[in-house]
């Protein structure tokens, strides 16, 4: 399938899975390590398709990559806290998959850490629901698995 972008000053065209085309500067695109090798031999008519990234995710990624350098060194933490603050668990997961796939500098750690904080000290049921895990253990198998890992469950209250 052929794609054509209107030629403009050396911006990079990125196409999200839901069909939106974003034009970003090479400085921004280069921080997405996965597409870095494609940028070098791109010309203005090249469109890079991103199969795991929706427009919402790319908008957030660009917001991060543009906003973080603009923040003062002492304000970076506040910027990052604000960046993840209003994201729902579903949005967090989707964005984490997108940044993990694009290998966005700095953002992978921020997103993974944010998700980690959400599942920490939570019940098995909560974590299953969070990740959309279907429990395919039979009750006997689950009990056996828990028994085998009993050394990691010391002092855990199961509610």
């Amino acid at each position: 399938m052929a794609e054509k972008a209107s030629p403009s000053s050396n911006s990079i065209s990125l196409k999200t899975v839901d069909g939106k085309i974003f034009k970003v500067s090479p400085a921004i695109a280069n921080q997405m390590l996965t597409i870095q090798p494609l940028i070098k031999d791109s010309d203005s008519s090249t469109i890079i398709s991103l199969p795991d990234v929706a427009a919402f995710h790319l908008t957030k990624i660009i917001e991060y990559l543009e906003g973080k350098p603009a923040a003062a060194p002492s304000a970076v933490d506040a910027f990052e806290a604000q960046f993840v603050k209003d994201l729902s668990p579903e949005e967090l997961k989707g964005l984490l998959i997108a940044v993990g796939y694009l290998k966005v500098n700095g953002l992978v750690d921020l997103m993974a850490n944010t998700v980690a904080k959400l599942i920490e000290n939570k019940s098995v049921e909560y974590v299953r629901k969070f990740f959309g895990v279907v429990n395919d253990f039979t009750p006997a198998e689950e009990a056996k698995c828990r028994q085998e890992h009993a050394w990691a469950f010391d002092g855990v209250d199961e509610d």
Partner: protein, 370 residues
């Protein structure tokens, strides 16, 4: 000519995007979760039963209440997580932090020997313990590791007073080590040789030494052609002098009371300097004069950051108004960090003194946020 580009997705496209994260993303998330909880994810489902065995980072953040700190439990826990690990998965980091109370010395020994025997790349330990109970060879496994790239040993004696951990005297062989962070370490002289503990570390680029001491010598040699960043925290003269043979040193940081002599060629190459100096009393001239000697060595410094405390020490230098002391001709930026509670008034004479031969330096005054 028009072209389209497509990068292969690691996952098949029909799978539900939100509920089915690729393993590598799960590993990344779980790298931020305490490892006993990581193991507990094994009961989520059949797929998750084995995920934890490949998580590259083992976080062990403990508080006194955790039963894992019972030495028997800890030994079982460590041997289980290491023996059940996927042998193909690299063990990147073991990060042990303990807050509240102190841990048994034997537990730290077990942690180190287990981590090193499983070829860990980054080892970080923060704990309080009875340092006197630590065997003198406790650090030896670390410094013969072929895989270790980063070491942080931040172990304090009970109640944070006294106690030193011996640095291995010989057999240093760490070809991959680039970052070394040491607290409360004692470097010992062996025979007539000078104490030069880092000279065999051929890739060392970052060195942090805090409250370290010397036994059997007055002078610590830091010889490292690769060293780029050096940080020293020191409050006394338990190390009398440090001789720097570090021709690639670009950044120097000091925190504490300036009482140690810095000699050798190292400081002449430094481009970035951060100093947070203070004195215990305003009558001793030793710290201000020592600080002056350091400042005189920064021939190539481009960026100098000092705290308000440091300016206070500078103001104690006698004959501050005789302007022939410093030659920081390349200085581009002088940053003064004010503490939250310190007065925002910078003594004028002190700034004039610091900038006496620095015609291009820009001055900025910033508030300390932490």
């Amino acid at each position: 000519m028009v072209r389209g580009k497509q990068i292969k997705s690691e996952r098949e496209e029909k799978k539900d995007k939100l509920s089915d994260m690729p393993d590598c993303v799960l590993y990344h998330i779980l790298s931020f979760v305490n490892f006993n909880e990581v193991v507990q994810t094994s009961i989520l489902s059949k797929r998750w039963e084995h995920i934890w065995k490949s998580v590259p980072t083992i976080l062990l953040y403990c508080t006194q209440a955790m039963t894992i700190l019972d030495f028997k439990n800890f030994r079982i826990f460590m041997s289980k997580i290491l023996s059940l690990r996927d042998k193909k998965a690299a063990l990147k980091t073991i990060d042990f932090k303990h807050h509240g109370g102190y841990v048994k010395a034997s537990l730290l020994g077990k942690l180190i020997s287990d981590a090193i025997s499983h070829n860990v790349q980054q080892l970080s330990i923060y704990a309080e313990t009875d340092i006197n109970q630590l065997p003198p060879t406790i650090l030896s496994p670390i410094f013969s590791s072929q895989t270790i790239t980063s070491v942080k040993v931040s172990v304090y004696h009970k109640n944070k007073s006294g106690g030193r951990i011996m640095f291995p005297k010989s057999a240093i062989n760490v070809p991959s080590l680039t970052r070394l962070y040491l607290v409360n370490i004692e470097f010992c002289a062996s025979g007539d040789e000078q104490v030069d503990p880092f000279s065999n570390m051929n890739r060392l680029s970052d060195l942090f030494i805090k409250y370290c001491t010397l036994e059997g010598a007055k002078t610590l040699h830091i010889s490292s052609p690769t060293l780029s960043n050096l940080t020293i925290h020191s409050r006394d003269s338990s190390i009398n002098e440090i001789v720097l043979s570090t021709r690639n040193l670009s950044s120097f940081t000091f925190e504490g009371v300036p009482l140690l002599t810095l000699s050798g060629n190292g400081l002449a190459y430094v481009e970035q300097v951060y100093i947070d100096a203070y004195t215990m009393d305003d009558y001793s001239l030793e710290p201000p004069l020592m600080l002056l000697k350091w400042l005189q060595k920064f021939a190539h410094v481009q960026s100098l950051t000092v705290t308000a405390n440091t300016l206070q020490v500078v103001s104690l230098i006698p004959d501050l108004m005789d302007m022939d002391h410093l030659s920081m001709g390349n200085l581009k930026s002088l940053i003064v960090k004010m503490k939250k509670d310190s007065s925002p008034i910078v003594p004028d004479g002190v700034m004039k003194f610091l900038l006496q031969n620095s015609p291009w330096a820009k001055v900025s005054i910033t508030k300390h946020t932490s």
